[in-house]
Each structure stands twice: as C-alpha cells, then as structure tokens.
C-alpha cells in the first residue's frame, strides 16, 4: 500500500515538473490581461505546485526517505519519528552493519 502511494507521489512530481512549461501553448502569443497566456499558466501551475507540496508535507512527508515508511528501507524499527537531534553516535552503528 505504501509502495503504491510512493509511486503515485513520484508520478505527481513528474507531472508537476513536466507541465511547469505549457508545451501545448508552444508558439502562442495570446495575451490575456496584459500578460502572455503561457505566463498565466505558469503562475497558476506554481501555485498548484505549492498546494500539492503542502498536501504532501501534511499527509505523506517521510515517504521513500525515512526507514520503515515505505516498506523498502530495510529492517529498522519502523518508527519513522523525529531523530534524536543530539545524536552524535557516529560509531554506534558500525557493529550493526547489515548487508
């Protein structure tokens, strides 16, 4: 399930990148309210991107990055919480190497 969610977010990221430039308006010089139509599209698209990023940050933050969030990142405890902040246990995991 998490894996499907991860791939959905990756697809959304690709669509967001792909249409930031409105390729379907290529060559168009239509002006709306003093600015080219393609510029309006871009401004709207960036607003949309911001909203999508906000939704992502609220609902899915950590997916694909934190261990245990998507089932693919190994056998760690699965608690994807905030790291301990003060951790300087640089050598702590040397012995815990798993391949």
């Amino acid at each position: 399930m998490r894996r499907l969610e991860l791939w959905s977010w990756i697809a959304i990221g690709i669509v967001l990148s792909a249409l930031a430039i409105p390729w379907f308006l290529w060559g168009s010089a239509t002006v709306v309210a003093g600015l080219p139509l393609w510029l309006w599209w871009h401004v709207g698209w960036m607003l949309l991107a911001s909203i999508v990023f906000w939704v992502f940050a609220r609902r899915a933050w950590g997916i694909g990055v934190e261990p245990g969030r998507d089932g693919s990142a190994g056998k760690s405890s699965g608690t994807a919480g905030e790291p301990t902040g003060t951790g300087r246990n640089r050598d702590a995991s040397v012995g815990g190497e798993r391949r």
Binding site: L16, A33, A49
Partner: protein, 515 residues
C-alpha cells in the same frame, strides 16, 4: 548626488549587516558546527529566506532581465521549473535525507556524509576537491562583478582593484565574525528586501507607462515574437537542459547543500518546501518581465550594460533606483559570503582534518575554519586581479559542474547496492567528460603538440576528441549528457563490483530513524 546616495546606501547596508553579524557572534558557541550550521537551529522564515537569498543573487537582477530583454521573457519558465519545482523536489529527496543523516551522525559537509558511508577518506577528499574546483572560480567571478560594478557606479573614482578588495575585506570580516547564524539573518533581511523592492519597482514602472497591457503591447510592436512561447533561442531541449542541469547543480552547490543540514526541525523543512514555488514565482515574474518590457519601452541600454538599472533610471526617482541597485550589489555579497563559509568548511573538514591532522579539537577546528575563510577569500581576490581565462570558463560552468555530482549522490542515497568503486567512477567519469567538453580546444592543442610522438595517429585522435566532446548533442547541453554518463557509470560499475569491507551500507537505510 546619485553617486553619493548610492555609495551611502551601500555603506549603510554593509554597516547594518555587520551589526547583525556582531549580534550573531555574541550568541555563537565556539565550535565548527555552530560556525558552519548555526548548530542546526534555523527556523522556517530564516531557512527559507537564507536559501532564497543565497540561491538568487545578482543573476536575478542583472543577467536574467538582460536575457529577457534580448530573447524574450521565457526565462521565467526555466527559472520557475528549475528553482520552484525541481529544486523543491530535490529539497525533499536529497535535502530531507541529508538532514536526517546529519541529525543522526553529526555530518557537516556532503563529503563527510559520503566518506562515512563508503568508508573512504579519498572519496571524501574527491567530493571536496571537485566542489572547491567549481566554487573557487565562482567566488572569483562575484569579486570581479562587484569590483566592476563599483567602478561603473563611481565612474572610476573607486578603481576595480580597490572595489574588489574592499568587498573582499568586508566579506572576510563579516564571515569570520558572524558565521552561519549571522549570514542567515542578513540573508533573511536581504531576501525580504529583494522581494519588496522588485515589486515596488514593477508597480512603479507600470504606473508610469499606463499598465501591463500598454507595456506588453509596446513590446509586441517593438519585438514581434518575443511574446510567443519558444523561438530560436528558447528551444525545448535547451529549456529542459538548462532547467534540469541548474536545478540539480544548485542542490550540490556547497552553500546551498549545507543548508540542508541546518534546519531546526522537520516542521521547518516542511513549511519551507511548500512555500518555495510561490516565493520563486513572486520574484521571477516581476524581475524578468521588467527586463522584457524595457525592450518595448525604448529604454536606452548601454552596450554591454544592464537593463534593470536603465529601466529604473528612466522611470523611477534616483533614490529608489539607487536603493534597488544597492540591494542587487548586496545580494551578490550575500551569496559570496555563504560560498566562502562553505568553501572553508569543505577545506577544513574534508581535506585538512582527514589528510593533515586527524586529532583536531572542536575549538581548534573553529579557529581553522575562520583562517580558511581568510585564505579562500584572499586567494580568490588575487585571482580576480589577474582574471585568468581558464578560471572564467570554470566559473561560468560551475552550475553544470556541480550538477555532475547530483546523480551519483542521489543513487548512493537511495540504492543500497551502490559501491565505493561505483560512486567514485561515476563522479570521476562525469567530471572528466564535462571538463573535456569545456576544454576541448586545449585537448586538441595538446594532441597537435604531441604530433611528433603520435605520428599518423594524431589527426584521427583530433577527430575522435572533437566528435566525442561537443558543446551540445542534438540540442541537449553537455551538462545534461554528463549527468546521464554519471548515472550510467555509477550504476554500471556498482553492478560489477563488490562493496569494500569497510563500507557501512546500512547507515543510509537502517541506521537512522531507529534509536
């Protein structure tokens, strides 16, 4: 009058920045981590604006509007895609993972993070070396820019060398005193100032000429085709290559990459990430449209000069134009000071510490870091006086050079089977390819010089070199081709090699997040 006003505003800004630096100094621990990363405590507004101001320097005010003036405003799309979306996604994919690892293991630099995972001092040194190779000439370019701008501003009263020297001296003083905390605070002021003045400038100019409809109409009649999306200059391949390469390059630029480590909490990262596209579009649209509109408004731009100062001089009062230009100069410095700090950290942490003195104490490292800033800035200043052509080429190509690092690093962060040999080969291979495309003439020269040795082989070699190393490949830039090579080599070599015994594969996957 305008000269004294402009100088007054610049000096005023410098003094304000310095006073912020002094306040930051009083709050600073004497450790390298605090000096480089403000002890990982930056809040949303500060992180957002310091990244923003560091990223968007003089280019937004000078080069960008100039391109919009000459070629049309499509640059906005390239900038929006590269900074607003691609960089934001990398902010999550690379930056958030880096932040988690930094919290867990105390990493301060990219090289440290990779060197620890792959159990390799040499890899750490390689990443630092490659980064400094591109960073040094880029810092030099900023000094050249500042020296030239001050000379132009004062009509020669402040000669180039004195201008560049003054700004170098100020930056050294400022960075050595303030460290990351002070830089981040001034950047915040700087970022907000940039946004506000750009919007006021745009509204002011539009109010004078009669609104965006009039300005756009004038542009249409002056330069037909400027408004149409695309053209000879803006081809799809070129727009995509530029946006992708620079977007990835920015994430590997030391001063930006290190900010990935500096956030105070996860919430700070989340908020900054969501606000990023809006912030970008808020700055790019007015700044670049002003440049494009200037074309239709018959603004006289001097040969080789910048568009934005010319527009402001034509339509706004002297004091306001001076304020914006002073802001642009300060923007240049606010990027350079972050670069100096990062350059110093790469040098101390990844070259001096592992290769010269492993038993460096925190306190001594803090001192060495400050000495590093002085050495780095002074060397770049010396280079800016001589302005060697090779360094110029390297500085201009810096973003693409950094972009070559991004895919090997991304693969290492997310693919468990990446080996030390794989990532090293990926980094060396793509850097060698990209540098060869920059210096293909020198390669041909070297082959011709060796003709007596090579004999009949020389012409064939020249053909091979000029065929393989080109500026563009079917419209795609050498930068993006190099990135693809880095990806293929990293993955391919990792497939055919086995991990070295002292690699710590688990730390990017299992070793963090689990206490």
């Amino acid at each position: 009058m305008s000269l004294r006003l402009q100088l007054g505003i610049i000096v005023g800004y410098l003094l304000l920045a310095l006073s912020i630096g002094v306040v930051a100094y009083r709050l600073t621990d004497r450790t390298a981590e605090d000096f480089y990363l403000a002890s990982r405590t930056l809040g949303t507004v500060v992180l957002l604006f310091t990244t923003f101001a560091t990223l968007l320097s003089a280019f937004t005010f000078f080069a960008g509007p100039n391109i919009a003036y000459h070629q049309g405003p499509e640059w906005i799309l390239v900038m929006g895609l590269m900074d607003g979306i691609i960089f934001a996604i990398l902010w999550y994919a690379i930056g958030y993972k880096q932040w988690l690892l930094g919290q867990q293991y105390g990493f301060v630099t990219l090289g440290e993070m990779l060197g620890d995972r792959f159990g390799s001092r040499r890899l750490r040194g390689l990443v630092a070396g490659v980064s400094l190779l591109w960073l040094f000439p880029y810092v030099m370019l900023q000094q050249v820019g500042a020296g030239t701008a001050l000379q132009a501003l004062t009509e020669g009263a402040v000669p180039y060398a004195v201008g560049a020297g003054l700004i170098t001296a100020f930056m050294i003083l400022y960075v050595v005193v303030a460290g990351m905390r002070g830089i981040a605070w001034t950047d915040t002021l700087q970022g907000a100032f940039m946004l506000v003045t750009t919007w006021i400038a745009t509204i002011w100019v539009l109010a004078v000429v009669g609104g965006p409809g009039v300005a756009t109409g004038a542009l249409e009649s002056e330069a037909a085709g400027h408004l149409a999306l695309g053209g000879d200059f803006y081809t799809p391949q070129w727009m995509l290559s530029t946006a992708i390469v620079i977007g990835f390059g920015v994430a590997m630029f030391p001063q930006v990459n290190q900010r990935f480590f500096a956030a105070g909490s996860k919430t700070v990262l989340k908020r900054s990430f969501a606000l990023w596209p809006i912030l970008c579009v808020l700055l790019f649209v007015p700044a670049f449209m002003l440049g494009a509109w200037a074309r239709g408004l018959d603004v006289a731009v001097p040969e080789g000069g910048n568009v934005l100062p010319a527009v402001l001089a034509e339509f706004t009062p002297v004091w306001f134009a001076a304020l914006v230009i002073a802001g642009a100069m300060a923007a240049m410095m606010s990027s350079s000071d972050s670069m100096l700090l990062s350059g110093s950290s790469y040098f101390t942490r990844d070259l001096y510490r592992p290769f010269v003195d492993r038993s460096l104490s925190d306190r001594r490292e803090d001192l060495l870091a400050r000495v590093g800033v002085v050495v780095f800035a002074t060397a770049a200043f010396a280079a800016s006086l001589v302005t060697p052509a090779t360094l110029f080429e390297l500085g201009d190509a810096a973003f693409s050079g950094f972009a070559q690092l991004a895919l090997p690093v991304g693969v290492a962060l997310y693919w468990r089977r990446t080996t030390r040999a794989g990532i090293t080969a990926g980094i060396v291979g793509s850097q060698a390819f990209y540098l060869s495309t920059l210096f293909v003439d020198s390669l041909v020269g070297a082959i011709e010089f060796l003709t007596p040795l090579l004999g009949g082989l020389a012409p064939a070699l020249v053909t091979v070199v000029t065929t393989v190393f080109q500026g563009t490949y079917a419209g795609w830039t050498a930068g993006i081709v190099g990135m693809a090579i880095g990806l293929v080599v990293t993955v391919g070599v990792s497939f055919v090699t086995r991990p070295a015994a002292d690699e710590r594969r688990a730390i990017y996957f299992d070793g963090f997040g689990a206490d």
